[in-house]
Symmetry: C2
Subunit: 253 residues, 2 copies
């Protein structure tokens, strides 16, 4: 269904090379792309992993002019989505599993940067609905700075079914809602598997999912102006969990 | 120096109309822009404030096709920047003043969404360097969803001078740095005026500013993958302060 994708930008390509999770068909570099440390590392990793790379004149990059490619483009296998049923069986690298569910986040920049924060915050997975949502396009890969290769990305037909399955597997469900009952920092995130649901940029979380939530949490606002960007809101919530977990276990990272 | 700017998108224009902080020269609406609640409110606020508005055929919007204008464009006076010397004399609406300083954030989407979080988190001001940084373009206004009208935006020649002036005015300076000494949540934000400095997307904070900081804070990472988007990092830090302040004063918002 999905064909070879292109990944552009030095950071994204380095991440893919380092993660070794994806098949890279070949890499093209502009003769003008500069000889900085990142480019050197790309070339050395490509050699090490026997990946074809070519230096091409900058004219060959004209058709990619809408991408901020920095003179480096990789042709790679598509993001490998993880099956929910496989994810649920796997052990977590953490004491408890934590996942984020995006109910219809449409903007690929937001999706990319949420995936990035989820990786930094040590989440186990990002769950997306198959339809409606912005899937892992090249923009998402670029915005996520390659984070898509460090976390399980799960695409599902029905978020409702998945939320029900999570609850049966001993997950607590936390939904972020402007009218939430609790401030987000009033929940104890340290002693449970949990799924955090974030809504779409304008519509919020669908009512059927809200009904399944064990906690509805809000982010308090100091102004009438009540509208955080969804990736910022997601980051605030994910890092509250990180902080509590670290403080509880005296973890140092 | 700056001429009349254009603001596009229904939310941004509504915010500007509601804030009454900016002179709106006129508003144009596409005949195809739809009669939803937001459009109705735009029209009714325009009437109330005697602002000229016109319905134009969609062809007239072709030259704005690169903007996601949703069929509504306003021609407005530019963002009114606040002078640092005026800001420092003003009383805060909070017990202590809190400001965020952006040392060279280049991406207008990031700048816009940082301003948005700063408003939600009740910060007093956003301070930007005059050169190098992405200033308040139409993209920033759009991404900030109109937040630029709810907070003091201060543009300065030298961030170093401003940081020194802030320190003389009883501000503590907190710089976000990947190699920071403390985790961001180990600082007590509740009993001081503070300035939070965020760095540029790639280069981080300039060394001269780092040297002036009273605290260097880091956001802990659960993965080798060490790179949060700057607007997400800023949001995590700003909301840690909000949370501490609310918890200390039993504030409910």
């Amino acid at each position: 269904m999905e064909n070879i994708g292109i990944i552009y930008g030095k950071n994204s390509i380095l991440e893919i090379l380092r993660s070794k999770k994806r098949n890279i068909n070949r890499i093209i570099l502009s003769k003008n792309c500069g000889k900085d440390a990142k480019t050197e590392e790309i070339i050395s990793l490509a050699k090490e992993n026997k990946i074809v790379f070519q230096f091409l004149p900058k004219e060959k990059f004209l058709k990619y002019k809408d991408c901020n490619h920095q003179g480096v483009i990789a042709f790679v296998s598509p993001v490998e989505y993880v099956e929910f049923k496989d994810f649920i069986k796997k052990p977590s690298k953490n004491q408890y599993k934590r996942v984020i569910i995006l109910d219809g986040t449409e903007d690929p920049h937001n999706l990319g940067s949420i995936i990035r924060t989820a990786v930094c915050a040590g989440f186990d997975a990002v769950i997306l609905p198959e339809r409606r949502a912005s899937l892992c396009s090249a923009v998402v890969e670029k915005t996520s700075a390659g984070a898509v290769n460090h976390i399980d990305i799960i695409k599902v037909n029905s978020l409702l079914n998945v939320v029900e399955a999570l609850k049966k597997s001993d997950f607590w469900v936390i939904a972020a809602e402007a009218d939430g009952r609790n401030n987000y920092f009033e929940i104890d995130y340290t002693s449970m598997n949990f799924a955090l649901i974030m809504g779409a940029e304008h519509a919020g979380i669908s009512k059927t999912l809200i009904k399944k939530a064990d906690f509805l949490v809000k982010i308090p606002m100091f102004n009438e102006f009540n509208s955080l960007n969804v990736s910022n809101a997601a980051s605030i919530l994910m890092y509250e969990a990180v902080k509590q977990i670290m403080q509880k276990s005296n973890l140092t990272v």
